[in-house]
Symmetry: D2
Subunit: 345 residues, 4 copies
């Protein structure tokens, strides 16, 4: 059994980690920390866990965390910077769900996050935890940066095109739609039901923190810098990300077999499902599951490639992918504890 | 492995049965029938099942169904009446999710369903599949009538009071609120998003088909007929039933330990969770799970007993309870394949 | 033109007042105050008002408010207590949407609101602004207490029964369902979309601040104290209240003409619509309008009277009713500026 | 008073027309037809209209329709083809909300709608009813084709760019998100709450009937054919369209004043609101109103122009725009009866 710790489990990625881990056959929850909720049973805060775990929040403590085989950080950015080194020093591995280690270029990180990078020394060994791109590195990693939700859906949607160098023009567009849980459990007016339901809006058109992360990943795939216009939208639902990507490939023959390219690329991926040609995946088809479903189209008049990619932002976009990383790091079948069928309807 | 058949799996209780059964460690899906969809993979209709099962719908056929250990009926009322006998004759057990065998009084059934009862001969052996009330009978049954969604939540909410004969006045009220999935997957104007979201309404105040079923169950508990005013409401959400029950017990001492009564009654029930005193369970705390969560209050001024009972109408109110019955019938741990944590948020 | 001031217009009742008043043919918006937003155009906070008004929030100031014919308070409780007297002294009338003057018994008010009553001296002249009950008093009032949202729907639903002394047993139950806007625009975790959508829950079963207000009104109608069990529920929608009321009247003949009683009582009420016998009004039928729609049923088995009453909590339950009061106070047709058709779908 | 007839008022654009017209000071509803609902009061079908109109549906009849000054068609496509000529012959003007006269090229229409064009002879005088583009023609028209919902939001969003010939590359993308009411009131599984809420999906990527209509309009603005990739998405809300448009203009100076261009173009338009620079309009800011709100951005890295355009699909995208056309045709102030403030929250 893998002994698991969670730092900062009071948010949505925290409770989602718990939902997955309490039924994971090879994981045992050892400690979950929250300074503000110390002593409170997690099931008091999240009654869906009643009957599944008796664990209480406790004050963060390196000794207890150091007893774990792996510690997940489900914290705001900056926290893992300050704690990861200490925990790694005890021999415990770290899977960070925050943005702290996602961007390899510390200066770029500081520009977008507006504060000093607190752990530059760890960046060389931090592995970007997108299994479809970095599976072998993940297996041997001590420190994982779990990708963001938008970056996961966009990178998986564009990977086959970029890896095969099919996009000569740097005019990729990612028009992304996210459920409100992506904004977290903070008490913000902008996340109230009365402000977000029955409405749709774009935000952060001038620049969103996931932009440099996505561009970093696309660059790895293409072997060169890739331009991207990324516009996120707030969508009136709890969970789900739908990324619609547009790529202009004027030199690609009209009969190029995009469907085959995608099916072949993801043939052995347990959590990427290439839908049949002509499909339109709905986010509800992955609600509560770790699956990413993708469809690829080509516009008959303009020749634009249109890719549709859906995930559950809290699962494949956060906690599920974190556990997928854990499975890889500890030599388990990647599917272990992650075979949830999406809740539909 | 239990060989399982499903008759009529195209509705919401059908896909929910599939969601549960494809991950059930002791069940193997042998056949699923739908005349209209014969030949179509179920995963084409319900993409959440892609990667979990390759089974296709097939035309109903007694031979194939007779190869199963158990057949679930997820059909409109009347269908099980006409098919159950034939299937039972092959030695296969039947778990009927429809209303066909829920009411023991066939004349009463005919009055509410407006058509002749098609299988009066089977009623004596039909067992009402509410494990908390009929566990021993279920273990030995060949034919199970899975309770309706409203009846499950109301009966579990009132059981401790009625079994202990605490309600002298016949003025019980059940004010129930259901998500729209209770209306099924039929293409009806009344179930459109634009007709049901952002709105709340009562319906069937003059009489709902679940009324006689609930009164039958309450009568069993009380050992005598019980009056009930039952008003269902359509609530703008997909899943969930919240039943608020009011019972007038003027002779009950103000300090009577209702909390203890409920906790004791359900101490050994794996799927009934008595919440701490003063709680207000939300339907989302059971979304996707087979749990029923209950809180019991007493109004400080009027002395009214107020019981709050929540379930997921598609799980404990239908397909989950059906599988719970199957587990009992085949000697499995009642929890097998049913330990889902509710999806929250 | 009536010169109008608004104190505290940043919440939902504030913006709803503005929505109504900017198109009111006899009202002219003179000042709207908010200490925190002083200088900000209201249309910056509420873009639906762009093009309808250029007014900016300003710091509260008695001189400016005193220039108005009437000042609306759309503030948390306690604010009107401290400011009303000063404003009234300038000859300006006051319509208070908060709870400050709703309860005539100041001790009772203090018990439920947990703070000293700040304006006992004004209570004798404060008029409870339910036009269907107090129309003549309203016409001559200087100070109006606009009823709460739940109290409006419950009182209108029970008025014909109580005024005619038809309910001998004190076992009235009001099971009320409210949209989330009833909780206001405050940044609370409990009002987040991810906490409230796709879920239904009761709250405050032990006692809600609207209970004494409702009982006061029912008592006025009945001419004696009336017992009430009141249970509010949080419903996953923005606007709307659905009150389901149960009253036991065992001595009332089964053929008593309840429908006629209600139709006659409300025959001349512009904002109460008695639906045809057998109806089930939906909250969406009043969304954005000042109408209260009511249906009255009698349960065929138990004889319970079941009343269904729906309003838009922000209109008839707050800002619309406030303007209805203003119309009465200034001798206008009661419908002036309030003839909105509900938005449907 | 303008005497108004409506053909086919049972759908969502029909009831929305009624909502607007019953409060329109210069319009008088003379007749509304529906073969299936003849004799039924419209307020029985749409209870929001109770108290606002007593009119009943009647069988379509040219004599009665011919008594009107103007007849609105709120019908499926094909109906106006067969009836418009007859009505026009009586001297009555026609405003068609269907697609029948939107596309000037009848062959193109037949290709997309899969049936013969039934009124080619009327096309030369049919005016495309987008006031911002065709105001003068509308004033003198006998026959108006009201634009589709997506086309309205996209054309208004791109008009300033195309009229000024700023887009050299034909790679315009319109990623559009629509509420479910755009699918109409038909009883379709795909429009059920349980199929559409809590989910987001693209549809018709291969080609949507609004594509040729949009391209026709963009071509008029540019004076030459314009390529467009148009992807509509089904969004879990009742009303609203959010169009996000991407246009590549590599030769446009980085400091080009797009904000000024838009503000100037729409300075005198009563129903187009150019938001301040940096804004993100939400669809709820126009819910129930005839306004289109637009923001224009330029991506700092890629130089892509990003335009955000929101409307209420049932108002500016259908019935409100239809009434705006009527106002123009009859010499009224364009705002008459259309000054609704959006319902927010």
């Amino acid at each position: 059994m893998i002994k698991v710790g969670i730092v900062g489990g009071t948010g949505y990625t925290g409770v989602e980690l718990l939902r997955i881990l309490v039924n994971h056959p090879e994981a045992q929850l050892h400690v979950i920390t929250s300074r503000s909720e110390a002593g409170v049973p997690v099931a008091d805060m999240y009654p869906n866990l009643r009957g599944h775990t008796d664990i209480c929040f406790s004050v963060p403590d390196t000794n207890t965390l150091g007893e774990c085989d792996v510690v997940f950080f489900a914290t705001p950015h900056g926290v893992a910077h300050s704690l990861a080194e200490e925990i790694l020093a005890t021999g415990t591995r770290v899977i960070d769900l925050s943005a702290d280690f996602r961007i390899q270029d510390a200066d770029e990180w500081e520009k977008w996050y507006g504060q000093p990078h607190g752990a530059r020394g760890l960046l060389p060994e931090a592995v970007y935890g997108l299994p479809e791109l970095k599976r072998d590195d993940i297996r041997n990693a001590r420190l994982i940066a779990v990708p963001g939700c938008y970056p996961t859906s966009v990178q998986l949607g564009l990977m086959p095109l970029l890896e095969n160098n099919l996009l000569p023009e740097q005019t990729i567009i990612a028009d992304c739609k996210s459920g409100v849980s992506g904004a977290g459990r903070g008490a913000k007016v902008g996340s109230l039901l009365c402000e977000t339901s029955e409405s749709m809006m774009a935000y952060a058109v001038k620049g969103h923190r996931h932009l440099p992360e996505i561009k970093q990943g696309l660059g790895w795939m293409a072997g060169k810098p890739v331009g991207l216009t990324f516009v996120p939208h707030l969508t009136p639902m709890i969970r789900g990300i739908h990324s619609t990507m547009y790529a202009f490939a004027p030199d690609l023959p009209a009969d190029f077999d995009l469907q085959g390219l995608y099916e072949q690329r993801y043939a052995n991926e347990p959590f990427v499902d290439v839908m049949p040609a002509g499909s339109h995946p709905a986010t509800r088809s992955v609600k509560g599951s770790n699956m990413c479903r993708i469809a690829v189209h080509r516009h008959v008049e303009t020749g634009q490639i249109v890719v549709l990619s859906v995930i559950d932002n809290l699962v494949k976009g956060a906690s599920g992918q974190a556990v997928q990383n854990m499975n890889l790091m500890f030599g388990l079948d990647e599917l272990t504890g992650l075979n949830h069928v999406a809740l539909m309807p």
